[in-house]
Symmetry: C2
Subunit: 174 residues, 2 copies
Amino acid sequence: MPKTVMILAHPKIEESIGNKIISEFTNKYDNVEVRHLDKLYPNFKIDVKTEQEALLNAKNIVFQYPLYWYSTPAILKEWIDQVFQYGFAFGQESALNDKKTFISLTIGSAPDYYNDDVMEKILFPIKGLTEYCNLTYGGEVVSFNINNYTPEAAEKAKQVSVEHAKKLLGLINS
Amino acid sequence: MPKTVMILAHPKIEESIGNKIISEFTNKYDNVEVRHLDKLYPNFKIDVKTEQEALLNAKNIVFQYPLYWYSTPAILKEWIDQVFQYGFAFGQESALNDKKTFISLTIGSAPDYYNDDVMEKILFPIKGLTEYCNLTYGGEVVSFNINNYTPEAAEKAKQVSVEHAKKLLGLINS
């Protein structure tokens, strides 16, 4: 089966519900490699060559993160800025044209605010990156109410996160 | 005159045309404080208290940055995530309600791709932050073709950047 690399960004993974469950669930599969950026690069000094090699070895690239202020956590943005360089990801030669990208996003709050227009804006930078570099966008899985504000909310979030992980694997393998 | 704090994010300011010119131009004014995040926090360890105090001392907050992959450089995102905390920027009490935000953005490429819809998506996270925290959005100044791909392009970019700085000051003081 084609290999999948999950680029996981979550500064407090031990306190996380969604990103912890989803990444652990998908990491059980032999053909999935999870790269937890916060653990690998606590000082934001991305090892560009290693990260580029991880992409070259994979067919599918999953961006796994919680929504922070309508965007990605900063470590994921730094990873994108450092890894998607001219000459590697775009320009006369691109090494990534046969890859597919996926967004796997958890949102702490309820879906009320997040209509199609808002979601399009939120997904835009990674979809734009994908398009600019001539990769194929494989779609997104987005889950809401992923929080531990109450014990009941946390319990519900755990169930939703397992469903999210299954849905993501289905999307990748479809 | 009310004080302005410019939050400047540019990892390579010495190679920069636009952000260097705009920040130096505005920094000449007594009531403007420029905080260059990359210089202050090379390891991304934001001094949250100091940054929050800088905001409290100002009336206007300018986000000054070059567009990196349809979004801010990572250091500015980390600053936002760390500084705009619950209890300070939003929640039962917010210390920032009387502040105004501005976006001052340089884009390396030509304006062709950047129609209103795309610009709305690009400005969305900071405008959303502003709205969520009940600050007032004061508007944006956006300049294109800010690059040094050729000596002629660099010369033109310098001129545009000076005009950009003047326009920004006009907007802040309007």
